[in-house]
C-alpha cells in the first residue's frame, strides 16, 4: 500500500503540473506566460545539470557555459549571418554538444572538488571569451535583436512546452536506462564499478556530453525567448544559480530540479517586484533549505539511508 501511494504520488505531481501547464495559458496574462516559459527553459537546464550532479555525482560549476555558448551561436548566426531558424537551432545544439565533447576530455578523469574547480575555470574561460571577443560577441553590450520566430507569447510558450516535455521524457529514459544505473553506480562507488569491468571514464564522459547537449537546447530556447544574449548568462553567478536550482529542488530526481528552477525564477521575478531586499529573502530560503532539507525539497520524505 505504501509502495502504491509512493508511486501514485511520484507520478501525480508531474502529471498535474503538466495539465496545468497545458490548460493554463488562456487564463493567464502575457507576463505570466512569459514567466512560465522562462521556468520551463531553466527547468531543462537544471535537469541537464542534474544528470551530472545528481546521477553521476559530478559537481559542474560551469554549466551555464553550454547554455551561453548555444545562445551566442543562435545570436551570432541570426543577426550577423541572417541564418534561417533551423540552421540556428541545429548549429546551436551541435556547437554546444561539441563543446561538451571537447571539455569532457579535460574533465572526465577528475572527481569531486577537482571536477568542480576545472569546470569552474572552463566556465570562466567561456565568460572571458564572450566578454572580450568583441568583434563576434559584442563584448559587454551583448547581442540584441535576435529575430522573433513567432508572433506573440502563446505560440512560443507551446513550442517551449513541447521541447520541455520532449527533453524531460528523454532525460527520464536516459537515467532509468542501464546506462543511467551505471552512472548511479559510479556516483555511489566508482572503484566497485571499475572492478565490475565498467569503463567509468567513458561513462562520465558521455554523461558530461549528454548533459551539455540538453543545456544547449535550453540555451537555444533562451536566445529566442529573450531576444538578447550577454556575458551575464554564462558567468559564475549564472552557473551557481543553476547549481542552486538543482540542490534546492533535490538532486538525482529530475522532478526536483525542475521544481527548483520554477521556485527560483518565481522568487526572482515576483518577490523582487515587492521589495528591494529580495536577495535577502532568496538567501534565507537557501540557508533554510540547506539546514532543513539538505537533500533538496523533493527528497524530503526519503529516508536518510539513501545517499544522494
Amino acid at each position: 500500500m505504501a509502495e502504491f501511494r509512493k508511486i501514485a504520488w511520484k507520478t501525480s505531481v508531474p502529471v498535474l503540473a503538466l495539465v496545468l501547464l497545458i490548460a493554463g495559458p488562456p487564463f493567464l496574462s502575457s507576463y505570466w506566460i512569459g514567466l512560465l516559459t522562462q521556468i520551463m527553459i531553466f527547468a531543462i537546464l537544471a535537469m541537464s545539470l542534474d544528470i551530472l550532479l545528481g546521477y553521476t555525482g559530478l559537481p559542474s560549476f560551469g554549466h551555464a557555459g553550454f547554455f551561453g555558448v548555444a545562445a551566442y551561436t543562435v545570436a551570432v548566426l541570426s543577426t550577423a549571418y541572417h541564418a534561417s531558424f533551423w540552421t540556428c537551432v541545429v548549429s546551436g545544439i551541435i556547437i554546444g554538444t561539441l563543446l561538451g565533447a571537447a571539455f569532457g576530455l579535460l574533465v572526465s578523469h577528475v572527481r569531486d572538488v577537482y571536477f568542480l574547480m576545472i569546470t569552474l575555470a572552463l566556465g570562466m574561460v567561456l565568460w572571458g571569451l564572450s566578454y572580450r571577443w568583441i568583434t563576434v560577441t559584442g563584448g559587454d553590450n551583448g547581442i540584441s535583436g535576435i529575430p522573433r520566430v513567432m508572433t506573440g507569447p502563446i505560440p512560443f510558450y507551446f513550442v517551449t512546452l513541447l521541447t520541455f516535455i520532449a527533453c524531460s521524457a528523454l532525460m527520464t529514459l536516459f537515467v532509468s536506462s542501464p546506462f543511467g544505473f551505471t552512472l548511479k553506480g559510479i556516483r555511489e562507488n566508482e572503484s566497485r564499478m571499475k572492478s565490475l569491468g565498467v569503463n567509468t571514464w567513458l561513462h562520465c564522459y558521455l554523461s558530461y556530453v549528454i548533459s551539455g547537449a540538453f543545456a544547449s537546447v535550453a540555451g537555444v530556447m533562451w536566445a529566442y525567448y529573450n531576444g538578447f544574449v550577454g556575458p551575464t548568462y554564462l558567468d559564475l553567478t549564472a552557473s551557481s544559480e543553476v547549481f542552486l536550482m538543482v540542490t534546492l529542488g533535490g538532486p538525482g530526481t529530475l522532478v526536483g530540479p525542475a521544481l527548483g528552477a520554477g521556485a527560483i525564477v518565481l522568487l526572482k521575478n515576483v518577490i523582487s517586484a515587492y521589495t528591494q531586499r529580495w536577495l535577502m529573502i532568496l538567501g534565507a530560503i537557501y540557508i533554510m533549505t540547506i539546514l532543513g532539507a539538505p537533500q533538496g525539497l523533493w527528497n524530503l520524505g526519503r529516508g536518510s539511508r539513501s545517499r544522494v
Binding site: 493567464l28 507576463y31 553590450n141 551583448g142 538578447f228 551575464t232 523582487s272 517586484a273 536577495l279 524530503l300
Partner: protein, 429 residues
C-alpha cells in the same frame, strides 16, 4: 507520510500562484481608460552603479514633485486658471536593474506586461540600453533614455520607440578634441580609459577631432571596468606627453585621481578627460588632487543660468547634496515626457501619438541649456568645457567655455559620418 505532506504544500503553492495570476490578469483587463498615467522607471539601485542610479531617480522624483505628480491638463488649466493644475495623476513604478542588462530586460517585461505602463524611462549602462531596445520596439511602448549614451542608439542601430534625451558618448568629446588642440595647444596626449563601449566611443571622438586639428594621441591605455589599482597603468604613461586624457566614473574615478597625484604625475602632466571623471557624483568626495582638471560634458552643476540655479537650489534643499549630471538628466527627462503628455492632452493610450510628441519636444529652458532632437533622435545641446576649482570651500566644475548647439555628428555631414565604423577599441581616425 511526511513526504506526502511536503509535496502537498508544494502543490498548494503552485495552485495559489496560478490562481493569483488569474486574478491579476482579470484586474488588468478591467482597467478603465482614464486611470493614472503609469510610468515605468528602470535604473541600477543596487550593485556598483547605485550612486548614479539614485541620482537619476532623485532628479526624476524632484521634477514630478514640482508638478504635483499630475500631467496632461495644461489645456484645461489655461482655460480656467483659478482651478488647480488638473490632468491625470502620474504613477511611477520603480524597478532596480542591478546594472545587469539581463535583469533590466526582465524588469522591463514586468513593467510592460504586468504593470501595463504607458511609457518608460531610465537605464544607465549602454549594455542595458542595447538589450532593452528591441524589446521596447516590439512592444510599442515609448521609452526615454536620459543617460545611456551609446553612439549607435541614434546612429547605425536606431530604434523607433526610444527617445534619447541625454547625449551620445562622442558628442562632447568631438568639441573637446578641437578645444584641446586649439585653446589648450596640446600636441601629444595619452588616453587612459575604462575598457568598454563608453570608453572607446569617448576616446574615439576625442581622438578624431584632436588629430584632425593637428594633435596626436600617442598612447591609448585601457583598464578593465573592475580595475582596483592603477599603478600598472600609470607606469605605462610615457614621459613626453603634454596631457593625459582620463575617462572614469564612480569609485574608479576617485581612486584614479588619488593615484595620479601620488605618482607625482599631477605636477608634471596636465590632466584632462571625460565629464564623468569629475562629475558631481564623485567630485564632493575628491580633494585637491582634482583641482585644475579640465573636462567636457553637456552639463555642470556650476552652470550659471537662472534655470540651473533654481534646479541646483531645489535639489540641494531636497536631497542635501549637489546634483550630478545623472540627476539633471532625468530631471530634464521627466520634463521632456511631461511636455509630450501635455502635447497629447494626457491621452497616453495612443502610444504612436505620444511617440511623435516625444520626438518633437523642444526645451529651451532646462538646467543644461536649450535642447532639441536632431532628425536621428539625438539631442542637439551645448557642450561645456569645465575646470575643477574650489569655490567657497567646495569643488565645482567651473564652465570655462561653451560650444553652443553641438550635434552628435559635430561638424561632419551625417551621411558621411555614418559611413564610418563606430568608434571601437582599436579605431584609428
Amino acid at each position: 507520510m511526511k513526504r506526502v505532506h511536503t509535496g502537498f504544500i508544494l502543490l498548494l503553492a503552485v495552485s495559489v500562484a496560478a490562481a493569483g495570476s488569474l486574478v491579476a490578469g482579470q484586474a488588468v483587463a478591467r482597467r478603465p481608460a482614464e486611470g493614472p498615467i503609469k510610468v515605468g522607471f528602470i535604473a541600477p539601485l543596487s550593485g556598483p552603479y547605485v550612486q548614479n542610479g539614485r541620482d537619476i531617480l532623485n532628479g526624476f522624483l524632484l521634477y514630478l514633485e514640482e508638478i504635483g505628480y499630475r500631467a496632461g491638463g495644461l489645456r484645461q488649466a489655461q482655460a480656467a486658471p483659478s482651478l488647480s493644475r488638473g490632468g491625470r495623476q502620474i504613477q511611477v513604478i520603480v524597478e532596480d536593474d542591478e546594472a545587469i542588462p539581463a535583469v533590466g530586460l526582465t524588469k522591463a517585461r514586468k513593467l510592460v506586461e504586468r504593470d501595463k505602463v504607458h511609457l518608460m524611462a531610465g537605464a544607465l549602462l549602454a549594455s542595458t540600453g542595447y538589450a532593452l531596445a528591441p524589446y521596447i520596439d516590439s512592444m510599442h511602448i515609448p521609452m526615454v533614455y536620459p543617460v545611456v549614451s551609446a553612439d549607435d542608439l541614434t546612429q547605425r542601430r536606431r530604434s523607433k520607440w526610444i527617445v534619447r534625451t541625454g547625449w551620445s558618448s562622442s558628442q562632447p568629446n568631438h568639441a573637446f578634441g578641437e578645444y584641446a588642440a586649439h585653446t589648450l595647444k596640446l600636441k601629444k596626449v595619452a588616453t587612459i580609459a575604462l575598457d568598454y563601449a563608453f570608453g572607446w566611443e569617448s576616446v574615439g571622438g576625442f581622438q578624431r577631432t584632436f588629430e584632425a586639428e593637428g594633435g596626436k594621441v600617442t598612447q591609448k591605455i585601457w583598464c578593465p571596468v573592475s580595475v582596483h589599482d592603477f599603478a600598472p597603468y600609470l607606469a605605462q604613461i610615457s614621459r613626453d606627453v603634454d596631457a593625459v586624457y582620463a575617462l572614469f566614473l564612480g569609485r574608479a574615478a576617485l581612486q584614479f585621481m588619488r593615484q595620479y597625484q601620488e605618482y607625482g604625475l599631477k605636477e608634471r602632466v596636465l590632466l584632462i578627460g571625460s565629464g564623468t571623471t569629475t562629475d558631481e557624483h564623485v567630485l564632493p568626495f575628491m580633494g585637491d588632487e582634482a583641482l585644475g582638471v579640465i573636462t567636457a560634458l553637456h552639463y555642470s552643476a556650476a552652470l550659471d543660468t537662472p534655470a540651473n540655479r533654481k534646479f541646483v537650489a531645489a535639489y540641494r534643499a531636497r536631497y542635501k547634496k549637489v546634483p550630478s549630471y545623472y540627476s539633471e538628466s532625468m530631471y530634464t527627462g521627466a520634463q521632456w515626457f511631461v511636455s509630450a503628455i501635455e502635447a497629447v492632452g494626457g491621452h497616453v493610450e495612443d502610444s504612436a501619438a505620444l511617440l511623435d510628441a516625444l520626438r518633437s519636444v523642444k526645451l529651451l529652458d532646462v538646467p543644461r541649456g536649450p535642447v532639441e532632437l536632431d532628425e536621428y533622435g539625438s539631442p542637439i545641446e551645448n557642450v561645456y568645457i569645465r575646470k575643477v576649482e574650489r569655490v567657497n570651500g567646495e569643488l565645482q566644475n567651473t564652465v570655462i567655455e561653451t560650444f553652443p548647439k553641438v550635434s552628435q555628428f559635430w561638424k561632419y555631414n551625417p551621411a558621411d559620418y555614418l559611413k564610418q565604423p563606430l568608434y571601437s577599441r582599436r579605431s584609428v581616425p
